[in-house]
């Protein structure tokens, strides 16, 4: 209610915070551009080859690389945005993506590629359904529930690995094309990502299901009062999240081409951070996937900067975590979203 009498007496920071909250995408893009400028200053020519005496105003190689590695991150961030809308979170996405990638790589040679892909997606879907069951019906807190299923899936993967050690791995050709190929300098992953992003944006904005995600996160009692059975929504939501994570895992497999037992796990924290930086509130009811995409790009640029500083791997990882926390905390502080 105190919102109603906001007057012009607020400080510039508060007003900036409100701008950030109401139209998160514009200042986010500005921040992204600022980071790119800093990067260019750090290493002249990396973004604009012409300054280093080479051809081209903007390096398509650099831009393509940035986008390529941001895609799986943005897809996992979609899981976080969707679940966070309902005041939830999905901490199993990293593991699910890994499982999906590993299963696909190991089954493709014996089962055939289409079948392997289907089994991978089914794995993601079933972890999602278990999450949905726990969160929506048993009412376990999403943080605990998805952390738990993530751990279980990790264990299952290790057991599974024992049995498949001899069968060898095969990375399906079309995944490799999608993950590493380029069309006019831009990564082929965009062929998957652009329809995917359009679908998520449409889902959030123009479907009844999307409406309910916002409703559950804003006020679950109000949703219940309107006849919404929240368990149905949560079940469908976490199943969808698992499916997206599995899909992201397949793409990541094509990109990295070396399945391992924690292939996509390191993407988990960045996926949460990308969502939060993109203006999604972990307390529900507010969120934007477009913001999360920009958030993912921002994180990739930051990562590049750290790489350029030529730090040891450990220090880089630690610093990356620190920056994610700092950026997120700062963002939450100035926008007043929580």
């Amino acid at each position: 209610m105190s919102m109603a009498d906001d007057t012009g007496t607020d400080s510039a920071l508060v007003r900036f915070g409100r701008l950030l909250r109401d139209n998160p995408i514009i200042p986010l893009i500005a921040f992204l551009l600022l980071l790119i400028v800093v990067l260019e200053v750090m290493r002249p020519g990396i973004v604009m080859p012409i300054r280093a005496g080479r051809d081209g105003l903007i390096s398509t190689f650099w831009l393509g690389n940035l986008i390529k590695f941001a895609i799986p991150l943005a897809m996992l961030a979609a899981c976080q945005v969707l679940t966070m809308l309902t005041a939830g979170i999905d901490l199993s996405v990293g593991v699910v993506a890994t499982v999906s990638a590993f299963v696909c790589a190991t089954l493709s040679s014996t089962l055939g590629v289409p079948e392997a892909v289907l089994v991978s997606l089914a794995c993601g879907l079933s972890v999602g359904l278990v999450n949905g069951f726990g969160v929506g019906i048993v009412r376990v807190h999403p943080l605990i529930m998805t952390l738990g299923t993530g751990l279980i899936a990790t264990g299952c993967l290790q057991v599974y690995q024992r049995f498949t050690i001899n069968s060898g791995t095969l990375i399906p050709g079309f995944l490799e094309w999608l993950g590493t190929g380029r069309t006019m300098g831009m990564p082929n992953g965009l062929y998957l990502f652009i329809p995917f992003a359009a679908f998520i944006l449409w889902l959030m904005r123009f479907t009844g299901f999307g409406r309910l995600l916002f409703a559950l996160g804003s006020n679950e009692r109000a949703a219940k009062l309107s006849g919404v059975k929240s368990w149905q929504v949560l079940m469908a939501l976490y199943a969808l999240s698992g499916l997206i994570a599995a899909l992201a895992g397949l793409l990541y497999l094509g990109m990295i081409r070396a399945p391992s037992l924690n292939l996509a796990n390191p993407l988990l924290l960045p996926s949460v951070a990308a969502a939060v930086i993109g203006g999604t509130s972990i307390f529900g009811g507010r969120g934007s996937f477009a913001g999360a995409i920009v958030g993912a790009l921002i994180l990739r640029v930051l990562d590049t900067m750290l790489t350029l500083m030529q730090m040891p791997e450990g220090a880089r990882t630690a610093l990356f975590g620190l920056i994610i926390l700092a950026v997120t905390a700062l963002y939450v502080r100035i926008t007043g979203t929580r």
């Binding site: 123009f206 009844g208 299901f209 409703a215 109000a222 219940k224 309107s226 006849g227 919404v228 469908a236």
Partner: protein
């Protein structure tokens, strides 16, 4: 009363922003005196109690206990000053046993045991977990704990609500004995029978002001009702002949002996299409439970609900909605998505069923939402977020939601609470219009004057039971107030 009073509170005022909850409240309690604190809903009683017990800080005013000015910064300070409260909800910690609860409050064990026994509760061990004991027992333990602290002034806030009769008798007797031994008692209650049995005086609050001090004697009930109402301008009754004619055939909603333990005991009524049935009750008489049961939020513990003559049971609000029962809760924040737009708030029920999870049907949605917005004249200038609307407009949005889906049976729980007069005047005719078009409306209101303005008749609930049914023509405020305090003998159902 020659010596200084034990407790003397004067000029107590408290406002929340622009809303004045208390403007000038006062209360004196002499040694050995039991004073009832009375007031209709919204008179400021609970604010005053919170100030007396230190839970709230007053803006102005003085509270003197036993000759010393009391600094009521916190409940602990109030206790040290010698005032100990006992509430309707016992303040014992459920996860600890009796002994630990006593230890927390520094309560001496032996006197406590003595009081528990005097109050007629047997078989309580100090190792019993609080969470395992029934509510009635907890209230008694809470009272025993308060008595063991030997307070100067004991404040009992509705502590006999939903307590078995024999225990009430015990409580009244023990409290009276303590008063006769010199303790001062403040007795907050809606119950005249208990007040006349126990109290010496009654202090009456109205609109945040102490308006009178009554000696308890035969006939005091009428004076108290008068004082609580004040001089109100008669608003004139509405004609209800048409509705009387409509009251035949199968009722839209028929409730028989409905109960939801512990507060809702036995409520029966019929609600016909075309009728607005008022529900009148003091706070906490079971009306919240009644509406929760009808809306599918709570399971009844007894009785039946029939919709159009068919028995109905609602395990979830969606089932109540499917049966045509739509609910507008008293607390708007329960019903609204604060950060979402007016349109989304009104359209929320459209997407509830999984069948409707797909693409939004923008055109039909817009048509129906616009209809509701126009009908209710909702101010949509602040399109963005509902939380930026005024209280009145927010309330219109919660009603508009069901207008857009199509109303069959509307359950309105105090829809005009805390909203401006202009909006109120829009809501009464709207409710009437809905009824004329064939809707059935159940209308709980804490403002008695509204019964005549909006309803055809009203059921009065006291202590979880229907105690009276009053036609709008006879529903002047004194009549309703007397009935709400259980002062009319007419037992029975509608």
């Amino acid at each position: 009363m020659t010596d200084t009073p034990l407790l003397d509170a004067t000029g107590v005022a408290k406002s929340y922003g622009a809303v004045k909850a208390l403007t000038d409240a006062s209360l004196t309690v002499a040694r050995g005196e039991v004073v009832a604190l009375m007031g209709a809903n919204g008179a400021g009683k609970s604010t005053f109690v919170k100030i007396l017990t230190g839970a709230l800080k007053p803006d102005t005013g003085r509270i003197v206990i036993d000759g010393r000015e009391a600094r009521m910064g916190s409940p602990a300070q109030a206790r040290r000053s010698g005032l100990v409260p006992v509430y309707q909800e016992p303040s014992l910690i459920p996860d600890l046993d009796v002994r630990d609860n006593l230890r927390l409050g520094d309560t001496p064990v032996e006197p406590f045991r003595q009081w528990v026994e005097d109050l007629g509760i047997k078989g309580i061990r100090l190792s019993d977990m609080i969470g395992d004991l029934p509510l009635a027992t907890l209230r008694i333990l809470d009272l025993a704990r308060a008595l063991a602290a030997e307070p100067d002034v004991l404040l009992l806030d509705e502590m006999t609500a939903a307590l078995p009769t024999d225990l009430v008798e015990r409580v009244l007797k023990v409290v009276r004995d303590r008063a006769d031994a010199g303790m001062g008692v403040i007795y907050v209650s809606h119950r005249f029978t208990e007040i006349s049995q126990l109290c010496d005086r009654a202090s009456v609050l109205r609109d945040g002001r102490t308006v009178g001090d009554l000696k308890i004697e035969p006939g005091v009930e009428d004076r108290a009702v008068e004082l609580m109402l004040g001089e109100k301008i008669s608003l004139g009754a509405r004609e209800s002949a048409a509705a009387l004619a409509a009251r035949s055939g199968t009722p839209r909603l028929s409730v028989k002996s409905l109960a939801a333990a512990p507060k809702l005991q036995d409520v029966s009524f019929d609600l016909h299409a075309g009728e607005v049935l008022g529900v009148v009750a003091l706070e906490g008489q079971g009306q919240d439970e009644l509406f929760d049961v009808l809306a599918g939020f709570r399971k009844p513990t007894g009785g039946t609900i029939e919709v159009e003559g068919r028995p109905a049971r609602f395990a979830h609000p969606s089932e109540a909605i499917a049966a045509g029962l739509t609910y507008v809760p008293g607390n708007r924040s329960e019903a609204l998505l604060a950060q979402r737009s007016v349109r989304e708030n009104i359209a929320l029920p459209f997407s509830a069923h999984p069948r409707t999870w797909g693409p939004l049907k923008m055109r039909t949605e817009r048509e129906r939402v616009d209809y509701a917005i126009e009908k209710l004249q909702i101010d949509t200038r602040a399109q963005g977020e509902v939380q930026r609307l005024s209280g009145g407009n927010q309330q219109k949005v919660t009603i508009g939601r069901w207008l857009a889906t199509g109303v069959e049976t509307l359950l309105l729980f105090d829809p005009t609470r805390g909203i401006d007069v202009r909006t109120k005047r829009q809501i009464y005719p709207l409710v009437r219009e809905l009824a004329e078009k064939g809707a059935a409306v159940l209308f709980y209101t804490s403002e008695l004057a509204e019964v005549r303005l909006a309803c055809d008749r009203a059921v009065v609930i006291f202590n979880g039971r229907v105690v009276d049914v009053i036609d709008a023509a006879d529903a002047d405020e004194p009549t309703l107030m007397r009935a709400a305090y259980g002062l009319t003998g007419r037992e029975g159902a509608a």
